[in-house]
């Protein structure tokens, strides 16, 4: 459930098909994922999951697996 919501947010912000997002997806292989869209992604994830992402994590969540880890941690805590 969380995974599909993350994918939906990523797809919407980065303007890529949801089904194209997988374990390998990162800012290295998604062209639209630049520093501006990164900010939008962090804000959109915070909005979607109603969480506050820590500064360090906000800078580092540059791939789908990292986002999943951070969001899950926040939801569990």
């Amino acid at each position: 459930m969380t995974v599909s919501r993350i994918k939906q947010v990523m797809a919407s912000v980065l303007e890529v098909p949801e089904e194209s997002i997988n374990e390998a997806s990162s800012n290295d292989n998604i062209g639209s994922w630049d520093s501006i869209q990164h900010m939008n992604l962090v804000l959109a994830l915070e909005e979607e999951f109603d969480v506050a992402i820590l500064d360090e994590d906000a800078a580092n969540i540059t791939s789908f697996p990292l986002i999943r880890i951070v969001v899950n941690e926040l939801l569990e805590s």
């Binding site: 947010v9 639209s32 500064d55």
Partner: protein, 592 residues
């Protein structure tokens, strides 16, 4: 959902999320709005999402706003690109704290001479851009504001004030330039809601979305609904609008208009604001259900009434409906209903005018009277500021004298001349191991100014630095205001007589000053010293580095091959190269 529903449910809904907003904007096809408006936004910080809010405000005003966001801190470059793209209106937003790294925190330790030099620096770069901006219909500059609260707040405010005076002086020199109070918008939403320190320090994006949304509203209103509206007149009710209370009941002595008492002080202040509207050539009318002689008595005899009968161009003081009276005023003054603003405290009157004369801009005096001041700010925004040239002579003379001395001091006719005044120095360091971590970091982070997008780890950079056949050139940039740190690197290898450039990347902070070109003669000199006779260089396209696709061509290399994917290869005798000359940058080689 159809477009009208989207407009009402999402665009006009303050609680709609950013992603909902973006989705709605995509659905609403701008093409059906006949009136177009183009706006270029130039800033020294990242204004992420601002274009979305501007487009939203556009659609709400039934205007298709074509918004072009400029690059990072590249005023002149932005102006050039806006011009070539046919943009007609420009917004310049300079963030005070980002004029120099954490400027607010530095201000306390800087002497007045340095501050003055920085003011002059910002002023001259603005003047160079504005002088070439006469093709634009309008240029709006936002004022400087405080971003953080520190122990030195008073000192920062004092310096901020001086920067803002400078902005006013710049604006006054051009007919198409006006100021917009961003500081008022920051104050309206509150600094905590306005400033995003996380993304400011991480990505130079200091504003939260709430602030950008409010700024877009303010700009829309100041541009008179993106130029779709030109307002000429304000029609005021009298009781509880120009003064507190009802003159017919409370009589002359009973109405509230005393500058020393609440709520009279609020109405007195509003009258001051109305006087400033009159200075802007706004037509002031009255429309009030009253006995005409009661209203006249206030205007002529109340000791604190600032407005006089002469200030009122036309008035309808009678017991007829306000709708009929506004129609009559429109006819009498020969101005359209859509160029009129109507201000009244009564919900009943406001609603009936809104319903029957929807093209009149109806504004209700707020129930909380203390909010009247900020509501009135939005009315003032509807009328363009008239520059001080129309004000009294002595002030004009003062400006003239100051203008002259400054022209002598800094009469830059070109961007080059201005750049020259910055005393830019590029300090080149070859194969110095202390820079390896920063070079690696830059290679990882630079996307736009990165010719090959090769990413290096610190270890890899370290190995190259130690190699006798590698050239690792680090670029440190300074100007008369201080250093920018290590902001670029060239990495190449010498293979026999060939110098192959593997990577060239720079931080976006320093481009647009031609540093990227200035360093090449020294780099080639070093390669020749190491035995190179030919140079090989490449550009590999990514989705983010289009801006440097022709960098080597502009530098003076001759392209030998271009692949179908856009990759370009350059191979040339070093001796035959004719590089572009950059006279205004001093390139030094560090000995360390």
């Amino acid at each position: 959902m159809n477009k009208d529903e989207l407009l009402n449910s999402t665009l006009k809904n303050d609680r709609a999320s950013f992603s909902e907003l973006k989705k709605a904007l995509k659905v609403i096809d701008g093409s059906e709005f006949e009136f177009g408006y183009s706006l270029g936004v130039s800033s020294n910080v990242t204004l992420n999402g601002f274009d979305v809010y501007l487009k939203k405000q556009g659609y709400i005003s039934e205007v298709n706003a074509d918004v072009q966001m400029g690059g990072y801190d590249d005023l002149q470059g932005d102006f050039d690109s806006f011009k070539s793209n046919g943009i007609q209106n420009v917004l310049v937003l300079l963030n005070f704290d980002n004029l120099l790294p954490s400027f607010e925190s530095q201000v306390e330790h800087l002497d007045d001479e340095f501050i003055y030099a920085k003011i002059m620096d910002v002023k001259s770069s603005l003047l160079v851009a504005l002088s070439g901006g006469d093709v634009f219909q309008s240029i709006t500059i936002t004022d400087f504001h405080l971003s953080f609260v520190g122990s030195n707040e008073l000192r920062v405010k004092e310096v901020l004030g001086r920067f803002n005076v400078m902005l006013r002086e710049c604006a006054d020199q051009f007919d198409n330039v006006s100021l917009l109070s961003l500081s008022a918008v920051v104050a309206d939403v509150g600094r905590y809601n306005a400033i995003d320190s996380r993304f400011y320090f991480m990505s130079k994006a200091p504003y939260k979305r709430l602030l950008l949304d409010h700024l877009a509203r303010r700009l829309t209103s100041a541009s008179r609904q993106f130029g779709a509206r030109v307002y000429k007149a304000v029609v005021f009710d009298c009781d509880n609008t120009l003064w507190g209370g009802v003159v017919g009941e409370d009589l002359l002595g009973g109405i509230a208009l005393n500058p020393y008492d609440y709520p009279g002080n609020i109405f007195w202040r509003i009258q001051q604001e109305i006087l400033s509207l009159i200075e802007r050539d706004v037509i002031i009318c009255l429309c009030s259900k009253n006995n005409p002689e009661d209203v006249l008595e206030v205007l002529e005899e109340h000791p604190h009434c600032l407005l006089s009968n002469e200030n009122i161009v036309a008035k309808k003081v009678n017991w007829s409906s306000k709708v009929d009276n506004i129609l009559a005023l429109s006819e009498e003054l020969n101005i359209g209903l859509d160029s009129m603003v109507f201000v009244d405290d009564s919900s009943f009157e406001c609603e009936s005018v809104k319903a029957r004369l929807p093209s009149v801009n109806t504004i209700q005096v707020p129930k909380n009277i203390s909010e009247y001041i900020s509501v009135f700010d939005t009315i003032k925004d509807l009328f363009p500021y008239v520059s001080s040239r129309n004000s009294d002579l002595s002030k004009t003379q003062q400006y003239k004298i100051r203008e002259l001395s400054e022209k002598q001091r800094m009469n830059f006719s070109s961007q080059e001349e201005y750049l020259e005044s910055l005393e830019i120095k590029a300090l080149l360091t070859f194969n110095e191991s202390s820079g390896k971590a920063r070079i690696s970091e830059l290679s990882q982070k630079s996307n736009q100014f990165n010719l090959t997008t090769k990413r290096y780890t610190s270890l890899e950079v370290g190995k190259l630095i130690d190699s006798s056949t590698a050239v690792v050139a680090a670029v440190d940039v300074t100007d008369k205001f201080g250093g920018c740190g290590l902001t670029g690197a060239v990495i190449g290898r010498i293979n026999g007589s060939v110098f192959s450039v593997d990577a060239f990347f720079m931080s976006c902070r320093v481009i647009a000053r031609s540093i990227e070109f200035s360093i090449w003669p020294e780099i080639l000199k070093r390669a020749v010293e190491l035995g190179a006779k030919r140079i090989h260089a490449s550009y590999y396209p990514t989705s983010k580095n289009m801006q440097v696709a022709d960098f080597y061509d502009r530098l003076g290399f001759v392209e030998v091959h271009e692949n179908s994917d856009g990759a370009r290869k350059y191979e040339q005798e070093i001796k035959q190269l004719e590089l572009i000359k950059i006279d205004w940058i001093e390139v030094e080689i560090s000995d360390c």
